[in-house]
């Protein structure tokens, strides 16, 4: 009888071990082994990303478009469509998590591609819900002259407190 009670208790004695404190030498060695693989892999990926960028998007033709959001109380983002020289190059539909990431200060690398040297034009169309939950669609355009250095275009959604409307801005840096 006592034996049974003990065995029943033993099942519950699992509680005696803390849930998050567990390690031993063997698993530490496995951790080190795993970390070595991960490190080698992430370094390979890093170099591959740089190689890809150098090959596919040389500085003299590279253009990158970033999107950020400041507050965003007057606009609930659903999607962005990007046109480069009147040709649609990307369309992104946002998940709740992605919108939250933007809302918290993240910046999305929306597009990276190539453009010709000289004059170019980027237009971004924002779709979502504006003040009072109404459907909202707005566009912003920026023109730029492509030089030899990479071009970065920053799209920003912010709140215009003066008229309680969202504001969409595009800036270029060469």
């Amino acid at each position: 009888m006592t034996g049974i009670a003990k065995s029943i208790g033993a099942a519950l004695l699992l509680f005696g071990c803390a849930l998050v404190w567990a390690d031993d030498t063997k698993s530490a060695a496995l951790d080190v082994e795993m970390e070595d693989v991960k490190k080698a892999l992430v370094e390979l990926k890093r170099d591959l990303v740089i190689l890809e960028e150098d090959l596919l998007f040389p500085a003299s033709s590279q253009v990158s478009v970033f999107l950020s959001m400041d507050v965003g109380e007057f606009f609930e983002l659903d999607a962005v469509t990007l046109k480069l020289n009147n040709k649609e190059v990307t369309h992104h539909l946002y998940t709740e998590k992605q919108v939250d990431a933007l809302f918290r200060g993240g910046v999305q690398k929306l597009y990276v591609g190539n453009v010709k040297q000289g004059d170019n034009r980027v237009t971004a169309f924002f779709t979502g819900r504006g003040p009072n939950g109404r459907d909202f669609r707005r566009a912003t355009t920026v023109e730029f002259e492509k030089g030899f250095e990479p071009t970065f275009i920053a799209l920003a959604i912010s709140d215009e407190t003066a008229d309680f409307q969202p504001d969409f801005v595009a800036d270029v840096s060469n």
Binding site: A5, A11, A18, S27, D36, K38, G105, F152
Partner: protein
């Protein structure tokens, strides 16, 4: 507004007016990935930015972020090295606090309590604008855990209570605190802590699991305090399904035995033993049921024959289980068998149908899914997770040659174009034409300089460079006419000489009047020529550079990439083998453990059979009925 959302972990990239510099955009990109819990992508972004020199003045922030992402991805040494490389003296107080936070996480993970304390003490978040103390849930969790380690349980409880009720870490903190109180024999406090945990809403699977365990713990403590009524209340309130249902039933059966309520115990054991699968609880029930019948027979409420029959059934059941385990132990020696078992966990969780087929296959071999319990340890869970990650790595590395091949073709095409451009530079004399342009620029510069310094004279040498093409033609024509004067008689020569002189004079004074404007125009022409020349130079340089870069750099890199990929494949295979070995060892160990348990139950059962047989034998020789009931 956004500052309130900024976390202790990182600096937030705040949108401002004007174009943000590339380091801000890159930092924001890694935050975007981090906020979506894609730590690998965020780490990669940080490393690429470092390699490309796109971190600007934000090197410390990037390092803090990279270390934190590496930490979240299980690269603890890398994270530690990254944090250690940040020069403490050169960073701002806020970043110093962030560094302390990241180091505290590392020390907490390593359970290095001595090092953890000072780092936690460095974190002081201050107060909000309306005077409320700012808090970070993970800091409070670590402070609580640290207090538990120091034995300051009440202080630990205070820290855990500062966390949001549904924060994922709070449930763990409360559970560990409840365990600590219990180990310290402070049962009322332990009970109170487990009660708090048991009352938490089931906001996640983990929280629900912990609250169920808390309820079981409450029952156990109640039993320990001889408060059987409370234990019974708690156990009977547990839901009739879920991971701990059988454990709860087994505990309930044990409680009934403690209370000498053998009829209730028999009912519980009977229900539990009727399950057609094997778990520690159902195994206990197989023994508990005849034992409770034996007790009932002692009270004349059941027959010894019935108890004996059930003991014999239990014996058969234990022997059958031992046979199964012996067979499985032999199979577990086969690496193929272990590897195919691991396929269950390597399967894409989204593919339910395929998973069902695999589960069925293993259910047929191992019986029910009770074998999953063998794998339900932190160590195994981690090994399985890593094994799955290693498989994904292998898939990625396996696809790399194709990708490298495509990039190599792009490089070859660009190299071809580079070489073509180089040929064009040479073959079409572009370099020679560029030299001509350079000569024109030099000439224009020299002329401009001479004109600026020269005193105006009605002479061709001064007038020609300033004149426009029409004026230049006129000056040339007048010069030619003057040469013809020698052929005229004296009278005509004087007349025509004066006339030519007048015309040249008109032109001269016009040039003197317009000298400043014309010099300015000449200057502009010179500048335009310089711009054209710079543009031509840049293009020539780019084409020449591209050619040499493709020949020297990228060509070599592809070979290096292939070598590195091969190295990683070797590392992945070795790491996967280690995990397969660990899993096999663990399965064998857990099987051995269960075999020992079953053997113990078998021994107890056989003793009980002998006891019951003796009783029946004595009763039959003495003519007495051994149980209270007629058979």
């Amino acid at each position: 507004m956004k500052q309130f959302l900024c976390e202790l972990l990182f600096t937030c990239a705040l949108a401002g007016s004007g174009t943000p510099p590339i380091e801000d955009l890159t930092y924001g990109t890694l935050l975007y990935e981090y906020f979506q819990e894609d730590h690998q992508a965020a780490l990669l972004t940080a490393l690429v930015a470092q390699q490309q020199g796109r971190r600007g003045e934000k090197q410390t922030q990037f390092d803090l972020a990279a270390g934190s992402f590496a930490f979240a991805d299980g690269m603890y040494d890398y994270a530690n090295q990254t944090f250690a490389a940040i020069p403490e003296g050169e960073i701002e107080p806020l970043d110093q606090m962030r560094l302390s936070f990241h180091l505290a996480r590392e020390y907490h993970r390593r359970q290095d309590w001595t090092a953890l304390g000072p780092q936690l003490a460095n974190i002081e978040l201050g107060k909000s604008w309306f005077g409320k103390q700012k808090l970070h849930p993970e800091v409070e969790y670590m402070r609580g855990e640290y207090a538990v380690h120091l034995g300051e349980y009440d202080k630990a409880a205070q820290h855990f209570n500062l966390m949001a009720e549904t924060h994922p870490l709070r449930a763990y903190g409360l559970f560990n605190l409840g365990v600590a109180y219990r180990l310290a024999d402070q049962l009322p406090q332990s009970q109170q802590t487990f009660q708090t945990l048991a009352n938490l809403p089931a906001y996640s699977d983990e929280a629900y699991d912990l609250s169920q365990r808390a309820k079981l713990a409450l029952a156990l403590i109640a039993r320990q305090q001889k408060d059987t009524q409370s234990a019974e209340t708690v156990l009977s309130a547990l839901p009739g399904e879920g991971r701990y249902q059988e454990v709860a039933m087994a505990a309930y059966g044990g409680l009934a035995m403690d209370n000498q309520d053998y009829e209730l115990a028999a009912r519980i054991w009977m229900t539990l033993q009727e399950q057609d699968y094997w778990t520690p609880s159902t195994a206990t029930a197989r023994l508990g049921f005849p034992l409770s019948l034996e007790k009932l027979a002692g009270e004349q409420r059941a027959s010894t024959e019935l108890a004996l029959l059930q003991f014999q059934r239990a014996e058969a059941s234990f022997m059958s289980r031992l046979d199964d385990l012996t067979r499985l132990s032999a199979q577990a020696e086969d690496p193929q068998w272990v590897q195919s078992l691991l396929e269950v966990f390597a399967n894409d969780e989204q593919d339910d149908e395929q998973m069902q087929v695999l589960m069925q296959k293993w259910q047929d071999q191992l019986g029910h899914t009770d074998w999953l319990e063998w794998l339900a340890t932190d160590k195994i869970n981690q090994a399985l997770t890593q094994w799955r990650a290693l498989n994904e790595m292998e898939t990625w590395v396996g696809a790399l040659p194709e990708k490298l091949g495509a990039l190599e073709r792009v490089a070859a095409e660009q190299r071809r174009r580079g070489e073509q451009a180089q040929l064009m530079l040479q073959g079409e004399g572009l370099l020679a034409k560029r030299e001509l342009l350079q000569a024109r620029v030099n000439e224009a510069r020299a002329e401009l300089s001479a004109l600026r310094d020269a005193t105006p004279k009605p002479e061709s040498a001064w007038m020609m460079p300033l004149a426009d093409p029409e004026e230049r033609a006129l000056l040339t024509e007048l010069g030619d006419m003057r040469k013809l004067l020698v052929l005229m008689n004296d009278k005509d020569r004087a007349k025509w000489s004066a006339r030519i002189g007048r015309l040249e004079g008109v032109l001269f004074y016009r040039l003197v009047d317009e000298r400043a404007a014309r010099l300015q125009a000449l200057n502009k022409t010179h500048k335009d020529l310089l711009t054209v020349l710079a543009d031509v130079d840049a293009r020539i340089e780019r084409v020449q550079g591209a050619e040499s870069n493709f020949m020297a750099g990228v060509g070599t890199d592809f070979l290096v990439f292939q070598d590195r990929a091969a190295d990683i494949t070797r590392m992945v295979n070795a790491a996967r083998n280690s995990r397969e070995t660990l899993l096999a060892d663990e399965i064998r160990g857990r099987m051995q453990q269960e075999m020992e348990q079953v053997q113990q139950y078998l021994l107890v059962t056989r003793i009980a059979i002998a006891r019951a047989t003796d009783q029946l034998s004595v009763a039959s020789t003495s003519g007495l009925q051994p149980g209270g009931l007629q058979q």
